[in-house]
């Protein structure tokens, strides 16, 4: 038995019946990390020793009957923009290269309450801005299915670590697709919850009205379990909603009979890769076979989502990132002549090009004389997008789209073409604009053996519905049982 190939619900079972100890599990993951990390480069910070130490302690507690948490002793990886007390939180930026948060994010407190074990902090595009994890200041994470390809982003470290078995599951964050797109590129499951379901307290803000933390897991059941842990109102985040606590695994019925699935045709139009399209069409057939009612419809407004997204996200980012000024914490330039020079140099040297690009864009769209034409207009379009989604959900339970128009691309192929990189977000951003839940699950491989992802979108707080739809598809298609990442070096 290879422990690192087990899902968390399988690990949990084996922990419960004492087949495995937390130390067995943690050690297996640490060994795997030592084997694969040099190729995959998923971590910014690894915590092998701390993790093993903690596993021993938890085993003792389990033996004494003290550790009662359902997930006590299960390891996890955390995206490096989620604050962890005492462990560096870098956002993969030079700006926060040595930053240690004085507090734990709410989601991290929740993991700690479960006595889960933090294996390390995962690489990402700097401040979550990007779709390939190439914009990390520290390293380029590689796709376990082909080490010459990107893992997607911005939660590329999280997706690659789960796909390569270096962590059993991970937390990511999603502002415009940053959980779903890397999950799709790496052949794993990624869930972006409804805006307001998971507390953002302790998530270093990129775009406050769009950011959500969510699970990246090996299978749908694990996503439901991790969502159980992290969901819930937090009085420290007033944008988090008071919703009834539910057990999302209870929704996993392996049955989609009568489920109404809408397929917005705009997501299958121009720019979509033929193999991706074919794979999605096959998935639609599968759903039909499973008894779902699938119908194509038009979500015309979607074509404005990308522009709307980049205006709102950049505007909020330009303000959110103001606090990185070299005064209280983070990078400060060595030599400066006065205060302005200190700001200018610290921020010029501390931020990478993509972050600067977005700060400049955001500053521009908020500046006087342009606000109405850009930011205000974008907010109006946002309302229209929400209205269109509301209409769609009067007819359908779930919307089905590709997660990304393409599979993972070659490292370096888009990093100098920001517009092309932005276009890769076209399928995912609408979901953030609408504040909706979306999940990406693998639905096949292309000819080169790269995973293709399918996105299922639900109405607000209907995570249960999309989880069940994803679960039923997964049970039928058994992607994980059929395909494994190859860690091949590709054709160089």
């Amino acid at each position: 038995m290879d422990i690192t190939e087990l899902t968390v619900h399988e690990l949990q079972e084996k922990l419960k019946n004492k087949e495995l100890s937390s130390l067995d599990i943690t050690k297996a993951y640490v060994d795997r990390m030592n084997e694969k990390e040099k190729d995959v480069q998923a971590f910014v910070t690894t915590l092998e020793e701390e993790a093993l130490e903690q596993a021993k302690k938890i085993d003792e507690e389990i033996n004494k009957g003290e550790a009662t948490g359902e997930f006590a002793g299960i390891p996890i990886g955390i995206k490096d923009n989620i604050c962890t007390k005492g462990v560096k939180t870098t956002c993969s930026s030079r700006m926060l290269e040595n930053f240690v948060s004085p507090y734990d994010a709410t989601v991290v407190e929740k993991l700690n309450n479960e006595k889960m074990i933090n294996l390390g902090k995962l690489n990402m595009d700097e401040f979550a801005m990007g779709g390939s994890t190439e914009y990390s200041y520290f390293k380029k994470t590689r796709n376990p299915w082909n080490l010459n390809k990107v893992p997607g982003g911005s939660s590329g470290g999280s997706a690659a670590a789960v796909a390569s078995g270096m962590v059993p599951w991970a937390l990511g964050s999603d502002t415009g697709g940053s959980i779903r797109q890397p999950a799709s590129f790496c052949g794993v499951v990624g869930l972006k919850p409804t805006y307001g379901l998971v507390s953002r307290y302790g998530l270093v803000a990129f775009a406050s009205s769009l950011d959500q933390i969510g699970p990246i897991t090996k299978d749908v059941y694990d996503s439901a379990m991790l969502l159980n842990i992290i969901a819930g109102h937090d009085e420290r985040d007033t944008t988090s909603k008071e919703v009834e606590k539910v057990d999302y695994t209870k929704y996993l019925k392996d049955n989609v009979k009568g489920l109404k699935i809408g397929v917005p045709k705009e997501f299958f139009g121009e720019g979509i890769n033929e193999e991706v399209k074919a794979s999605l069409e096959k998935a639609i057939e599968t759903y039909k076979e499973l008894g779902a009612e699938v119908e194509e419809f038009s979500l015309d407004i979607a074509k404005y989502s990308l522009a709307t997204y980049y205006i709102i996200a950049c505007a909020e980012a330009s303000s959110n990132l103001g606090r990185f000024d070299g005064i209280r914490y983070g990078y400060r330039a060595k030599d400066f002549k006065d205060l302005k020079d200190l700001y200018r140099k610290s921020r010029s040297e501390g931020f990478g090009p993509e972050v600067k690009r977005r700060i400049i864009l955001g500053t521009y769209v908020l500046s006087s004389g342009y606000y109405d034409a850009y930011y205000k207009k974008a907010q109006q379009v946002r309302t229209l997008v929400m209205n269109e989604f509301n209409k769609a959900f009067q007819k359908y339970d779930v919307l089905l789209t590709p997660t990304s128009p393409t599979v993972a691309f070659d490292i370096g192929s888009k990093s100098n073409n920001p517009l092309e990189m932005y276009l890769a977000d076209i399928c995912t951003v609408s979901v953030n604009i609408g504040g909706l839940p979306g999940i990406s699950i693998p639905c096949g491989l292309d000819k080169e053996g790269m995973p293709i992802g399918m996105q299922l979108i639900g109405n607000k707080f209907q995570e249960g519905t999309i989880l069940n739809a994803a679960y039923t598809f997964e049970q039928k298609t058994k992607f994980r049982e059929n395909y494994k990442p190859t860690f091949r070096k590709g054709e160089e």
């Binding site: 007033t238 330009s318 103001g322 205060l339």
Partner: protein
């Protein structure tokens, strides 16, 4: 042209720190004077990932201020971000309110030398204070103290309705007294909990267009505000009379030189890039909420003043002075109740107490004794234990080394001599030594009696009971 040919137009933006126990977006204490960076947490120091949670008391206090100044309360309001970089602003944006303030369209009445006047309140909005920069004693640069960062403020913006420094002074005093009455701010100007940005412009009398205004920021004493306005009016008249144009700019008032100086130039004109704060939800207030606050408002200065005119028969002038401060007004009412002599209490407040406050630039709230002690002072005079001239000395003592007036009198041996034998001894002695005055009195010069009493007071170092002296001299000289 002379200054008289111009009309002065002034508008104020007053910042008042709210007297909430905790900060506006976190639970750090707001108290003044703590060691630097001890009232801070991850939220008010803008650690990455932190989020603000609006303190509901701040909304309540701002609504109180709005209702007390006849504002319309907005039931749908929000917080906006005002973006700019400065080391005392940890998030690089101030959470304020831009286009949907909590309160709008209010007014305040003032009574100036030209009569009663209404000053419009454009808006009152809530926002957070910034921290403070302290210059390092060792010359290594500036140090940031974030204790004040996130202390709640209301900004009260007036219409440009003020026409003189006198009106500004009256408006500010009235506003201050209202805020004190409704207990939303302690208005301690020395601690900066009440400060004003003053916008001044001038135009030729009869002109319709406003002149270009200059702004003097963060003024926190009545005296400097008056001086600065007077200086600025003269400066602007000078500029225009010499064919120049007034530049729109921010000025710094220098107390020592008595001049204003330009702070920034136009190239630095800030674009604050206001936008709604996505971390905070809209502020929605129900009719019931507003109604409940309205019901809880205390009696305001205007109504107290009317009551003093009828209930205590104070003069209009005295009632104005006493009600100008909630503290003075409470002192007056409480002390009057205890000693049952409102006329005497009024006199003490209007004359000696006000004089000392003026001389020492002390705020009424800083008066070191309470209403009981003031009442005791009045009662000691009424009972004849001390004379009113001794009482004046006791009052000075009460300011300088606060304690009960009885204790002061005991310690100082200031008890009035009312012993008939002792008084008679003094009278005999004075009569013996002042035969000329005795003769004058007997010749019909009434004034000579006053001189003799004065001599007796001198002899007893002010402690002799003046009524008894009077009576006894008259008897002796019959």
């Amino acid at each position: 042209m002379a200054r008289e040919d111009y009309e002065v137009v002034i508008g104020l933006e007053v910042h008042a720190e709210l007297a909430t126990k905790t900060k506006i977006f976190c639970s750090c204490p707001t108290s003044f004077g703590a060691a630097p960076n001890t009232h801070i947490c991850p939220i008010c120091t803008a650690m990455p990932g932190t989020l603000p949670v609006l303190n509901e008391k701040v909304v309540e206090y701002a609504v109180r201020a709005g209702l007390a100044t006849d504002c319309t309360i907005s039931q749908d309001s929000k917080n906006d971000r005002k973006n700019y970089f400065y080391p005392d602003l940890p998030k690089a944006y101030q959470i304020s309110q831009y286009d949907k303030p909590l309160c709008e369209h209010g007014k305040i009445e003032i009574d100036s030398s030209t009569g009663r006047k209404t000053i419009g309140i454009t808006r009152i909005h809530i926002e957070e204070d910034a921290g403070k920069l302290n210059h390092d004693e060792f010359g290594r640069g500036s140090l940031v103290d974030l204790n004040r960062a996130g202390v709640p403020l209301i900004e009260i913006v007036s219409e440009p309705d003020l026409r003189s420094s006198e009106e500004v002074d009256l408006y500010l005093r009235k506003l201050k007294s209202i805020l004190e009455y409704i207990e939303v701010s302690d208005c301690k100007m020395q601690e900066g909990s009440l400060r004003a940005d003053v916008n001044v412009s001038i135009r030729k009398k009869g002109a319709k267009e406003y002149g270009t205004r200059t702004e003097m920021k963060n003024m926190n004493s009545f005296r400097s505000i008056t001086r600065a306005i007077e200086y600025e009016i003269d400066r602007q008249v000078d500029v225009i009379d010499n064919g120049g144009v007034v530049e729109q700019e921010t000025l710094r008032w220098d107390e020592v030189s008595g001049k204003t100086f330009s702070m920034r130039d136009k190239e630095d004109a800030q674009d604050y890039r206001y936008f709604p704060d996505p971390d905070l939800v809209a502020i929605k207030l129900s009719d019931e909420y507003i109604e409940n606050i309205k019901k809880s408002l205390p009696e305001l200065p205007e109504s107290r003043k009317q009551r003093y005119l009828t209930e205590y028969h104070l003069s209009e002038k005295d009632a104005n002075i006493i009600t100008s401060s909630k503290y003075l007004s409470d002192l007056f009412e409480e002390a009057s109740k205890i000693c049952n002599n409102p006329k005497a209490v009024n006199n003490w407040i209007i004359s000696d107490i006000s004089r000392i406050l003026n001389e020492t630039e002390m705020e009424p709230v800083a008066i070191p004794f309470d209403s009981k002690q003031l009442a005791k002072l009045v009662m000691l005079i009424d009972k004849g234990t001390i004379s009113s001239s001794i009482a004046k000395k006791v009052l000075v003592e009460m300011f300088e080394h606060p304690r009960d007036p009885e204790d002061i009198i005991d310690e100082k041996g200031w008890v009035q001599i009312s012993d008939e034998g002792a008084i008679r001894d003094v009278v005999s002695k004075v009569l013996e030594n002042n035969s000329q005055s005795v003769a004058d009195y007997k010749a019909g010069k009434e004034k000579a009696l006053g001189y003799l009493v004065g001599q007796a007071m001198k002899e007893t170092r002010g402690k002799a009971n003046p009524q008894m002296l009077n009576k006894m001299f008259k008897e002796e000289l019959k």
